[in-house]
Symmetry: C2
Subunit: 103 residues, 2 copies
């Protein structure tokens, strides 16, 4: 099956239409975080999926990866402008969940 974007929403879903991506982006809204700190904010995500998700988001220019040349390693993730442009949507999704789950 080919991956053509037939409508803008299709394009959006190809970028962030997974379970983990919005969660990672959401937890960076307040500012950049170290790799370990970010991962701890997302219980249930395995080490591997975390790495894979941030790699994907970085490749698509939604987050920025800053490596500090220290030992032990320090890596900080933060939203790019592009990632930040999803802010309202991410907050809406979180808000929807908080309202819906108490029904």
């Amino acid at each position: 099956m080919t991956k053509k974007n037939v409508c803008p929403l299709d394009y959006t879903m190809n970028l962030i239409g997974t379970k983990w991506k919005p969660l990672v982006l959401f937890h960076l809204l307040e500012g950049g975080l170290r790799s370990g700190t970010l991962q701890k904010k997302i219980p249930g995500i395995s080490n591997k999926m975390f790495t894979q998700t941030v790699r994907d988001l970085e490749k698509d220019g939604l987050i920025f990866r800053k490596v500090f040349p220290v030992v032990p390693p320090k890596v900080e993730y933060s939203l790019t402008d592009r990632g930040m442009s999803l802010k309202d949507i991410l907050i809406s999704l979180d808000k929807w969940g908080s309202e819906d789950c108490q029904k």
Copy 2:
């Protein structure tokens, strides 16, 4: 890995955090559609994934399935109130895509 919801967004993602679900919901915003019509609006989705996605959405009370007892079969899907409460988010996701893709 267990599926505990640690934040509202996590809850939301467990409900609609897939590639196809938002697309199906989006195309029902303007009103109910016959099964075949809805499926045609989502190129790239296979018969199986379409069925599976609408089953899931129905199970979670986001869409409603109305069967007309005629031959050949006629089935219409429409948003429930719960599904409709995602309207603004779905439109925002679509809008984000249309703005982002032209950069």
